[in-house]
Amino acid sequence: MTAHSNVPRTPPRFSATFDPATLAEIRRAAATGIYDIRGAGTKRKLPHFDDLLFLGASMSRYPLEGYREKCSTEVVLGTRFAKKPIHLKTPVTIAGMSFGALSAQAKEALGRGATLVGTSTTTGDGGMTAEERAQSQTLVYQYLPSRYGMNPVDLRKADAIEIVIGQGAKPGGGGMLLGQKISDRVANMRNLPKGIDQRSACRHPDWTGPDDLEIKIEELREITDWEKPIYVKVGASRPYYDVALAVKSGADVVVLDGMQGGTAATQDVFIEQVGLPILAAIRPAVKALQDLGMHRKVQLIVSGGIRSGADMAKALALGADAVAIGTAALVALGDNDPQWEEEYQKLGTTAGAYDDWHEGLDPAGITTQDPVLAARLDPVKAGRRLANFLSVMTLEAQTIARACGKSHLHNLEPEDLVSLTIEAAAMAGVPLAGTGWVPGQTGGY
């Protein structure tokens, strides 16, 4: 008996291919017959800005003195055709997130926070709420395939118009807002019956392709008397061609959203398996602008996984004019905050991992239409938190830029960066640290 128990045994071993998460997903699919739908962005590890480092000044370059020698941050968007371009004090904007996906309080808080630091916020699929217009000094109005809530009165109230062709979480995909979140107010704004699943189309209903987009842009300019900048937003998949075509179609600004970008409710398979990480998308996009002689003339906003001033500085160094944040802004408002841990546990998750944004049960009162939950978010206080976070991002980016001797964030260049990994070196087109090697740099995208 004892002899037998002394024989070494092979411990249970999980398959790397069929790991516990994979097994759980197969069981879930078998039980429900529907793919997993969730909010938030990619959860897998991707090559990202963390893999890049700045080369601070020392002997060959001279740094600027912190706090004394100015490092400017302002940016002007929409200088190509619009009579009234957008002036931002800092090159970090708030990405499009819909009323419907977010509570009215959350939308208002985004507007308040952005306005405090002199930047813009953006509407989403579902139209413009009075709260966000009132609290946003600069508001970008999204023009989406569904046209939910699209109306010319709000169009004229907007400061810029963003034609959404795709988003990083699901380039080529439409949307799905499940019935639980179609409250009376959301239903009314979207002309839909209450409580039904709301499908958003993946293509615009009245144009397809850049040759017809050019005509659509002309119409929007005519309606708004050529005053407002027209942005075109694409999900990162073929950025070189997409950016070139946006420019040819007449865009003032191109918004490029990497696959890390969040979403209200999308198939997990889409979030994790389609699109490019933003790190890999910026250089081809900038190359397209440069090849057309339009870099800095048609401005480029990049988004998808931007979390800090360092991320912003790196994106600008790679050639972007500004960045946009979504998930980081929600976290700044209070999303996934440990103070609600008990309630997250009841939902079968934990603070920091909660992604069932589409179910409308968000304990933080942000991704919900439940009036009791939504009332938990104080738009004034949450707006202040967002403003603080945006200020920190700006200060961080300035710190880095000064260290690199730049008096404006836009003077950061790819040559100020090196990469820690071969993957990031290839994707960002900057040399592996300590070498002059840029893998794959044979031209062409």
């Binding site: 293509r203 397809t208 392709g209 850049p210 040759d211 017809d212 050019e214 005509i215 073929r238 061609y241 070139a244 075509l245 040819k248």
Partner: protein
């Protein structure tokens, strides 16, 4: 992504103005395709002769090339130079031999099309500049098709400009974007077809050529294309005696046609057609999705 125009004359009295009408239609489509433009014109032809449309660098010495192609029996082939292109006429029996000679000895010259009546011209630049460079307004003919290109996923080059020749006296222009052209290109290459560009439209043209080499009529080849070509397309196809139109089953890309006793005309947008005679009383219609249309001259 592009603009397409096409004009098929029923009334012989208009043949002298074909080029002028086509040029005006083409220039109207500049917004849809500012990168490059091209056109095919079906003009006069001589029995037993074939016209080769050639393209070379600016200032190329085409007369010397023609001298090099002369043989005692036929003399120097007839040559007509327009800008960077030239059309030479050789006996049909000699076409294969001439093509082989050009391929071997003159790689700097590209054969962009051949036929008894078809001539193809295409170039990078705005449609107005392209039409002027080739003196399109002065051309006469029975029918023609034209294209303005906004390049999507392949380079802005002359080789990437439309029309693409699909065979003798046959050519194709495309508006849209195919989604399975890479796989199709590989399988056609395996069948022996050759491609000059990464352009999806060239694959569509090659596909039709391949089908017709297998014995299909143009109509049958287009029908088969509905099954084998994935993505979005409006095609206009020219042949020796007529022209055809095909839209994919989803039919998002625009197509407007006008027909009168004098002509049938095609435009990506109606405004391409407004200069045509009698347009105000023409029958204006949109071709149905997944339906092959064809207009043919009485022989």
């Amino acid at each position: 992504m592009c603009g397409i125009v096409g004009l098929f004359l029923k009334d012989q009295k208009l043949e002298g103005e074909l080029g002028a009408m086509l040029a005006s239609m083409l220039c109207t489509m500049t917004g849809r395709g500012p990168d490059s433009a091209g056109f095919a014109v079906y003009g006069a032809g001589a029995p037993g002769q074939v016209k080769l449309s050639l393209r070379a660098a600016k200032g190329y010495d085409f007369p010397a090339l023609a001298q090099g192609l002369s043989v005692p029996a036929d003399g120097v082939p007839a040559l007509s130079i327009r800008g960077t292109h030239a059309v030479i006429e050789v006996p049909a029996a000699r076409e294969a031999q001439v093509r082989a000679f050009l391929a071997a000895r003159h790689p700097e010259v590209a054969v962009v099309g051949s036929g008894t009546r078809m001539e193809i011209f295409k170039e990078v630049g705005l449609p107005s500049a392209v039409a002027e460079a080739f003196a399109l307004p002065s051309m006469r003919g029975t029918h023609g098709i034209g294209h303005t290109r906004m390049a999507t996923e392949s380079a802005v080059t002359t080789a990437g400009a439309h029309p693409f020749s699909t065979g003798t006296d046959q050519c194709l222009v495309h508006n849209g974007s195919l989604s399975n052209h890479n796989g199709l290109r590989r399988s056609l290459a395996y069948q022996g077809m050759t491609f000059e560009t990464e352009n999806d439209s060239e694959v569509a043209a090659g596909y039709l050529t391949w089908r017709m080499k297998q014995g299909a009529s143009l109509g049958d080849a287009l029908e088969a294309g509905l099954k084998d070509l994935d993505g979005f397309f409006t095609f206009v196809v020219g042949t020796e005696s007529g022209f055809g139109v095909l839209r994919d089953p989803i039919a998002c890309k625009p197509a407007v046609m006008a027909e009168t006793d004098q002509y049938v005309a095609f435009g990506s947008e109606y405004r391409a057609l407004i200069g045509l005679p009698g347009i105000d009383t023409a029958r204006v219609f949109e071709p149905e999705p997944a339906t092959v249309y064809f207009w043919e001259r009485a022989q």
